[in-house]
């Protein structure tokens, strides 16, 4: 299977502010893709161009191997960051409307809505008005709305923002289920921990540029294991060592980050000479550190 989403050198500016600048990325079929970056990095602008809510000033958007056209949108499910519902509509009517706008027949939309509502324990609420529902229930309705037409590609902008813990877990389960069913999922977030847990591939965006893109495992591997957690008795005085980038004492253990190119064995030899080591473990860098490192490089 080819690329589900391909962006080629897209650029979008509002007045003098450049939101997205010469951004290219490719999302392969299947799997979870994380669009990562701090607030204001251009994630939402990128997503909006992906589904034709706005058009890029330059560059090309391709979906499912075709040049973007609106007909393709019925294969995409979208959950925007700013999401809401018509307050005075009944839950079922509302879902049927949104399904019908995605080309489902009203009958089919009704059938699927009822099935989803049952699964989400909303069956008693289908004839209530949206405004009578709690915020958590409304969030569930919004998930259903994005998935009702069984899209091949699911795009979610900051899906976890503002969710209560229960819904957060439920959304994660749904995403994993969709992944198992062979769907492609793209979500944006500024929270690195979610990406580490869920994503297969990522794109790091900062100031409208893609600064790092690809398979998450490969990216981490390419950074090497330059991170050490250790426990010891005595004081090895590693803070002042010339190949240590940073040193954090957490009380029970310390965390040491090595300078690029430094060898962990050197650190071990030094530490053994000076103190009594009870644990010495090499770790992959966290995404957060990679991010900070990359942003620092490009700043």
């Amino acid at each position: 299977m080819g690329d589900i989403v391909e962006l080629r050198g897209i650029r979008k500016s509002y007045d003098r502010f450049v939101a997205v600048d010469n951004l290219s990325l490719a999302i392969r079929a299947g799997g979870v893709y994380g669009l990562l970056g701090p607030n204001g990095a251009g994630k939402t602008s990128t997503i909006r161009m992906m589904i034709g809510i706005t058009m890029p000033d330059e560059g090309e958007v391709r979906l499912f191997g075709e040049q973007f056209h609106r007909g393709l949108l019925h294969r995409v499910g979208y959950l925007p960051e700013e999401r809401g519902l018509y307050k005075r509509m009944k839950v079922l009517d509302h879902l049927v409307l949104l399904g019908a706008l995605h080309n489902l027949s009203e009958q089919e939309a009704r059938k699927r809505s009822l099935a989803w509502c049952e699964r989400m324990q909303l069956s008693e609420w289908t004839n209530k008005k949206v405004e009578e529902l709690s915020k958590g229930m409304q969030q569930k309705i919004q998930f259903i709305a994005a998935l009702l037409h069984d899209p091949e590609l699911v795009i979610m902008d900051e899906p976890f923002a503002g969710l209560d813990p229960a819904n957060s877990v439920m959304l994660k389960d749904i995403l994993i289920e969709l992944k198992k069913a062979g769907k492609t999922i793209l979500f944006s977030t500024h929270r690195m921990d979610q990406v580490e847990r869920l994503c297969d591939s990522i794109c790091l965006i900062d100031h409208g540029h893609a600064i790092l893109e690809g398979d998450l495992k490969k990216i981490k591997a390419s950074y090497g294991k330059n991170h050490v957690q250790m426990q010891y008795e005595g004081d090895p005085r590693l803070e002042s060592c010339e190949f240590v980038q940073s040193f954090n004492n957490y009380g029970n253990y310390v965390e040491v980050r090595l300078k690029p190119g430094a060898d962990a064995q050197q650190l071990l030899r030094l530490a053994v000479d000076r103190a009594r080591i009870s644990r010495f473990e090499l770790l992959e860098p966290s995404l957060e550190e990679i991010f900070i490192d990359q942003v620092g490089k490009h700043a």
Binding site: Y14, M55, E81, Y86, L101
Partner: protein
């Protein structure tokens, strides 16, 4: 197309099913009927009361004559507001007072104040010489009463003077019989509807058009703001284009307005036909103005599209109803101005100024409609006016959809004019 249809349906059903629509639709005719019927009923109930009036005059014969004229007066007859139903005449009890001293005046004033008499008429010789007669009463605002008294005094004085010139009574009565004037409108070369009828029809239709365009234009604006605030728009935008959204909204809300008009007009016809048939005698030939209704339908649709597209653009630029109120003058001012200018156009429907005003697209729904209803302007003028309106509506819709497209995704501060110009240039 299916999407637009779905959006129209949603908009229409939600509004038509709402309690406020039902209440408003039913209450409005009741209110209108109330404003017409209730004062009339009250007047009928109050009429027939006794009015005690003292006529102060040097000439007791003249005073008695005034009393006779007052008692014979036919209520409202001289007001021009003829009604088929005769009101019960007011019973006047007249007291003639020959004491014209200032002290007597003061005494009578006292009596008016404590309600012993309704009023007194200062009909002294000196007052007659100055052609200035004063009627003093607490009920000075009773317009009908003053007119009746004025007429009675005039007739009595005229009769007395004529008889002093040697005329006998039958001669005088013949001379004083008033001549009634009835204005008829020439339609297609024949006399048709009476002028009064034309005026009231035109006025009612224009006010209906004005209020429905205004109410539903504002409804479009508020609905856009509400969609912005509930953050539903971006959810919809993954399935429909902003243009479809805008079309669905304007057409859906417009259909609600149309439904309301149809209900009201049906009400009006059902209730007014018996009355109109009964009052044929003074309204002239009553006929349903078919051309007028077609013109109304066309100008309502064009006017609604024109103003609602402006309101939609305004709604997409702001975030709160409060902000919208400050921003809605570009749509409000021309609409209200149209109504203000209507008075002039109704009086001079064929003047060059009326022509130029009525082809201005923002005034046209009101002013051209008025001209069609009262004066049958040449066909080319109507055609020209409609062509200009269609072009303007097309342009405004294009402009509004560009503003809307950008505006609905913008939260926060509303745009300045240069920013707005840039919005129009965005690729999308």
């Amino acid at each position: 197309m299916r999407n637009v249809w779905l959006l129209i349906q949603r908009e229409y059903l939600e509004r038509v099913r709402s309690r406020s629509f039902v209440i408003f639709t039913l209450l409005m005719p009741a209110f209108m009927a109330g404003t017409v019927l209730v004062p009339e009923k009250i007047e009928q109930m109050n009429a027939g009361g006794e009015k005690r009036i003292v006529v102060v005059a040097n000439d007791p014969q003249l005073a008695a004559a005034v009393g006779r004229e007052l008692s014979a007066a036919k209520p409202k007859a001289e007001l021009g507001l003829e009604t088929e139903e005769e009101l019960k005449p007011t019973v006047y009890s007249i007291q003639v007072d020959a004491d014209t001293s200032d002290a007597e005046g003061d005494r009578l004033r006292q009596q008016v104040s404590n309600g012993q008499i309704t009023g007194f008429l200062w009909l002294t010789d000196s007052a007659l010489e100055e052609h200035k007669v004063i009627y003093s009463t607490k009920e000075a605002a009773d317009f009908g009463q003053s007119v009746e008294i004025r007429n009675a005094v005039r007739t009595a004085v005229t009769k007395q003077r004529l008889s002093q010139k040697g005329m006998n009574e039958p001669e005088i009565d013949t001379m004083l019989t008033p001549i009634k004037l009835k204005t008829l409108r020439i339609e297609n070369g024949r006399e048709g509807t009476s002028g009064t009828m034309v005026f009231f029809t035109a006025f009612a239709m224009v006010m209906l058009l004005y209020s429905v365009v205004l109410i539903y234009g504002i409804a479009v604006m508020r609905s856009v703001i509400e969609e912005k605030n509930t953050r539903i728009l971006e959810v919809l935008l993954s399935a429909v284009t902003p243009r479809q959204l805008l079309a669905g909204k304007i057409l859906g809300v417009g259909a609600v307005g149309l439904t309301q008009i149809v209900i009201w007009v049906t009400f009006a016809i059902l209730f007014s036909v018996p009355g109109l048939l009964a009052s044929r005698s003074f309204l002239g030939e009553v006929h349903i103005p078919v051309e007028g209704m077609i013109a109304f339908a066309i100008f309502f649709l064009l006017g609604y599209l024109l103003y609602s597209s402006m309101y939609a653009a305004i709604g997409s630029m702001v975030n709160t109803d409060h902000e919208a109120q400050q921003m809605q003058w570009p749509a409000m001012v021309p609409l209200v101005m149209g109504v203000v200018l209507m008075n002039f156009v109704i009086q001079h429907p064929n003047s060059p100024l009326a022509f130029w005003l009525s082809i201005v697209p923002f005034f046209a729904p009101i002013l051209m409609l008025v001209r069609i209803l009262v004066a049958q302007p040449p066909l080319w003028q109507i055609a020209l006016c409609m062509a200009i309106m269609v072009a303007t509506v097309y342009g405004l819709l294009a402009l509004a959809s560009r503003i809307y497209r950008v505006g609905i995704l913008m939260y926060g501060k509303r745009p300045t004019l240069p920013e707005l110009r840039r919005w129009l240039r965005y690729a999308g």
